[in-house]
């Protein structure tokens, strides 16, 4: 009687090869690098704001702004394209010049950008440029008005964007100066018509409430200038954040000029996936 026939020998050989080859892989590499470098910056800011919305008042309101900004930039080792995602929330508390009325605004901004990289000066200067989808949403409320108490804000636009980063040494510490700018080019925004009421809007009285925006009727700008300074294992960021949001649609003029001092922490890391 034969204990091992030809087929059995073949099956055994395949199994031994599979087991040993797997063991070899585990032995030499149980982690996978996805080739991406993540740069996360979490910042808080405080600054000054100048708000105008002629649906609510002909007067400009001035006061303070409080921001929270989260940036994530993803650079790839195998590509010159980077991705950037921004979430930011801002609260504006403002008064009229006679201090008899208040307006406050709550805004959320989301930005998703695709950026191409160029390196200059032996890699010390990096420039990213590309496009982003930029979305703002929120509302501005006047605490004295009757049937025009608030102005709802919603704006989605395509935004050309550029970031320049210059790396240098400050003593023995790595540092970087960074400037980021975006200008909404074309998009669409919600706006009531000149004297339209929310009562009418609630009755489905649409009157050019979705408006095409471009850099002429909604010239806006978002920019940030920061200094990153690394000490031991922590990178601190301090700088200036400026939002200029403007629109002149449906005979309603709006602006929000916001200039803030921001401070935050930057973390740069890779993600390793470990095989089970």
């Amino acid at each position: 009687m034969k204990i091992f026939n030809r087929k059995t020998w073949l099956a055994t050989a395949v199994m031994v090869w599979l087991i040993t080859s797997n063991a070899t892989a585990q032995e030499y590499s149980d982690t996978i690098r996805d080739g991406k470098t993540y740069t996360n910056a979490t910042m808080v800011g405080v600054g000054g704001a100048n708000i105008l919305d002629t649906y609510l008042s002909q007067e400009k309101y001035r006061g303070l702004s409080y921001e929270m900004v989260y940036h994530r930039t993803i650079d790839r080792a195998d590509s010159r394209w980077s991705k950037q995602i921004i979430h930011s929330t801002a609260l504006f508390i403002t008064q009229n010049r006679a201090n008899t009325g208040n307006e406050w605004e709550l805004m959320y901004n989301y930005q998703h950008a695709w950026l191409y990289n160029w390196d200059f000066l032996d890699g010390r200067l990096n420039i990213k440029a590309g496009g982003a989808i930029d979305a703002d949403g929120g509302y501005l409320q006047n605490d004295r008005n009757s049937n025009n108490p608030l102005s709802v804000k919603a704006h989605v636009s395509i935004m050309p964007k550029a970031i320049a980063t210059y790396k240098f040494k400050c003593g023995s510490h790595p540092a970087a100066v960074r400037y980021e700018i975006g200008v909404p080019l074309v998009g669409t925004m919600f706006s009531l018509n000149y004297g339209q009421s929310y009562y009418e809007l609630g009755k489905d009285d649409y009157d050019r409430n979705l408006v095409l925006t471009h850099f002429i009727n909604a010239p806006s700008l978002k920019q940030m200038l920061t200094l990153d300074y690394t000490t031991k294992k922590t990178t601190l960021r301090i700088g200036y954040l400026g939002y200029i949001r403007q629109s002149d649609v449906n005979n309603i003029k709006c602006h929000n000029y916001n200039h803030s001092l921001v401070i935050g922490i930057v973390k740069r890391f890779n993600i390793l996936k470990i095989r089970p």
């Binding site: 105008l52 002629t54 609510l56 008042s57 002909q58 007067e59 400009k60 009229n96 010049r97 006679a98 201090n99 008899t100 009325g101 160029w118 200059f120 200067l125 420039i127 440029a129 006047n142 004295r144 008005n145 009757s146 049937n147 025009n148 050309p160 550029a162 700018i181 200008v183 018509n193 000149y194 004297g195 339209q196 009421s197 009562y199 009418e200 009755k203 009285d205 009157d207 850099f215 002429i216 010239p219 806006s220 700008l221 200029i244 403007q246 629109s247 002149d248 449906n250 005979n251 003029k253 709006c254 602006h255």
Partner: protein, 337 residues
């Protein structure tokens, strides 16, 4: 470096697109406040052309007449007085100037007419055992006529409140809704109440809004359609009692009730107020309210100066002395017919 120059050039081009969206603020002075107020009305008030037709209002002539009265030596109270007087030229109860020491107003729309309502008489008719919910006082009168006294539309009317009131009054032969003195409030409350008196979707009138600064820059008229309530609906006769102080949302309620199948309007002409009011402000901080969205009846007539009743009945002095409310008694008789 060529690429770098190109990028810097692109950046500079982006920045040139960012112009300013701004307005010029008037000075915080008597003259500045006057200019701001005159322009707010000129650009946003909705009845300038209508009032030019009805009584010859000329807003440019008003500017000439009142600008001469403004000077930098005026006291705050003199300035307030002149500005209030200028606003009174609009003859509009929805136009007010608010300061920390006074509310500028035009109240001739009811002050120049008989009140046609008496608290003493109302107390007599309501007694002390009436029911009250959400601002509505109601009871069944001794000839089995339901009576609702409703003095303001300020409260948001709940459908549960109306169901309870109408269920309680359901055995009555007719219903009186007494809104004399009701100065308005929420348009939505007027709609909810009127929706209890229709069985099909009904076209009540029109509304429009301004689309620009010109006196005649208006959107198209939009139909005001009212759907019947899904709650208890009144199917018998109803009398709505009015006087000159019925204004704004209450005036709209009368407009709606005129389109319902079983309603009659009894009393004096209403006070009007057919422009939905908006607010703005002056450089000195005073707040101003003005009519912004005009509303029309189903024949596209502006109801700014009031709505005529079906039966014009005045409270007589002799009835008043005898403790009889002429208007309520007239309504009771009509409801019995």
């Amino acid at each position: 470096m060529k690429k770098l120059s190109l990028l810097i050039l692109s950046l500079a081009t982006m920045l040139t697109f960012v112009g300013c969206v701004d307005v010029d603020e008037y000075d915080d002075s008597p003259k500045g406040n006057f200019e701001a107020l005159w322009h707010i009305i000129d650009e946003h008030y909705c009845f300038l052309d209508y009032k030019a037709d009805v009584y010859g209002l000329d807003w440019n002539e008003v500017y000439e007449r009142y600008s001469k009265q403004m000077n930098s030596n005026m006291t705050e109270s003199q300035e307030f007085e002149v500005l209030t007087k200028m606003l009174s030229e609009l003859r509009d109860g929805h136009v007010n100037l608010y300061s920390s020491f006074d509310n500028g107003r035009y109240w001739s729309w009811f002050e120049s007419y008989p009140a046609n309502v008496s608290d003493t008489l109302l107390r007599k008719y309501l007694g002390t055992d009436y029911k009250i919910t959400n601002g509505m006082k109601y009871r069944i009168l001794n000839d089995n006529i339901g009576y609702i006294r409703y003095e303001s539309f300020e409260n948001d009317l709940g459908s549960g409140n109306l169901d309870n009131i109408l269920a309680y009054l359901a055995p009555c032969n007719g219903l009186i809704i007494d809104i004399r003195g009701n100065g308005g409030g929420l348009l939505s409350s007027a709609e909810k109440f009127a929706a209890r008196f229709i069985n099909t979707q009904t076209m009540m009138g029109y509304i429009q809004h301004k689309t620009g600064k010109g006196h005649n820059d208006f959107s198209e008229m939009k139909e005001q359609k009212l759907k019947p309530s899904s709650g208890i609906r009144w199917q018998k006769s109803v009398a709505v009692l009015t006087n000159r102080k019925v204004f704004s949302a209450a005036n709209e309620f009368v407009k709606y009730m005129k389109q319902t199948p079983n309603a009659m309007i009894i009393g004096d002409k209403t006070g009007g107020g057919a422009g939905m009011p908006y607010s703005s402000e002056l450089p000195g901080g005073w707040s101003v309210r003005f009519s912004a969205c005009p509303m029309y009846d189903k024949d596209k007539n502006i109801t700014e100066f009031g709505i005529d009743p079906d039966y014009n009945v005045q409270l007589s002095d002799s009835d008043l002395q005898n403790g009889i409310d002429t208007i309520i008694e007239f309504a009771r008789e009509k409801l019995k017919q």
